[in-house]
Subunit: 249 residues, 2 copies
Amino acid sequence: MLKEERQQLILEKLGTDKKVTLVELGQLLNVSYDSVRRDVIELEDRGLLKKVHGGAIANSYLSMKASRGLGIANNEFNIITKKAQKLIENHSIVLMDGGTTNFYIAEQLPKSLEITVVTNNPHLATALAEHPKIEVILLGGSFYKRYQITLGSKTMQDLEHINADLYFMGINSIHPQKGLAIRQYEESLLKQKMMSVAKKTVSCVIEEKMNRVENYKVCDVDDLDYLVTSLNPNEKILQPFKGKSVEIL
Amino acid sequence: MLKEERQQLILEKLGTDKKVTLVELGQLLNVSYDSVRRDVIELEDRGLLKKVHGGAIANSYLSMKASRGLGIANNEFNIITKKAQKLIENHSIVLMDGGTTNFYIAEQLPKSLEITVVTNNPHLATALAEHPKIEVILLGGSFYKRYQITLGSKTMQDLEHINADLYFMGINSIHPQKGLAIRQYEESLLKQKMMSVAKKTVSCVIEEKMNRVENYKVCDVDDLDYLVTSLNPNEKILQPFKGKSVEIL
DNA sequence: AGTAAATTTGCAAAAAATTGCAATAGTTTG
DNA sequence: CAAACTATTGCAATTTTTTGCAAATTTACT
């Protein structure tokens, strides 16, 4: 079996199942665990899927684009999106970086909304082409394929000239004591910069990211202005965040 | 067995199977491994299939054309792409802006190519994620939805810091006297800027764009270094361009 | 025809890529 | 915390690619 063929099959499988384990793939394709693992790494570097411990999950941008219009609604995302929209309404310049949640929020924004969105995520920029009244500013820089965003000193510089009202920060983990963190060092620097050029910062977090701790800390929970989750404010998982200065939605 | 015959059979096989290994082909056609390998390389150069380690994979254009019974031998884009690749080979920093032709050229670049591509077209950036050795720099600025590129003074500024070797200029029309032109005023300014930061400028033009005149002139034909078309150099439509300083490919 | 030039073909040796394995290190889960 | 699972690394076997070369074939031209 050709390597390319295998990789194509992996992507197809992911397109339907959204997730696969490496062992499964090995059996399905009749090759060693190592081969599929190496394939998955390669595909992740190209931004075509996301590798997780034990397997891989579909690339969120791609699958969202694919499922768009099919009425496939994700409840958790929808709750967060509703709350996020309330925040946006009063702000005219919104900064949004990478991550599935941000992408989903942007896509679902009302068509009538008149705001400016500044982003380092090309997928988000092209998706917003559907919104006639939203002006989109794309941040330049070197394109980091794995996470499909622009990054680096050029992107940082671009931010110098931005004064945003609200920043939607995508994040990999949030923890009451250890703060908000992300996987890439460069990305953490960028996010800090983004915070500094925005009046207010909000982070929309799905439940699975709570109480985990990723590699590079971006800021403390206290540095956030708003925290949006799909949870009921009384949930016990939210209690440790209650004493903070952040407003929980 | 004639070479043409063999290559035709290879394409047919690919049309039905979507993939073949070279060993398979060698046995099927009863020729040496080397011959089929060389055939496959040639076919790839013509953009008719995708060569991968160990074999070949049908290219989407092939299946499209083949199913319609069209002549697959030489589509206009493929001829242009091949010629464009020759130009790129000796350059390390390539500037490419919007337009279908540029997108197609970028997509078809060899996977082994080690260059940097600077672009204001986010789609091109994400498509190039497939090419592990190509570094992509995305130009920032306000995102112009209609043509799906970034534009404006920020994009212009970004260009100040670029010294490109070769600029692929997408264009809407070309005329021997009236020069190269485009539909948007802002875009024409940007293209002029791009020309100024690149050592050489090349434009790849399909036949339908020749001898038309669009709204905003970017430059004269003489300002171009190379003009790539799918036409035979002796075609009468090209004659008016012959006296110019541009090199016609 | 007949010959020279160009192209094509198959072969062999060396270089490069791919693959599976095993030992080790790291993660997750109950 | 330990057991089970997963990831990483280095390695060796295998397969594929590349390169140069010489024989065979085709093409072009007189």
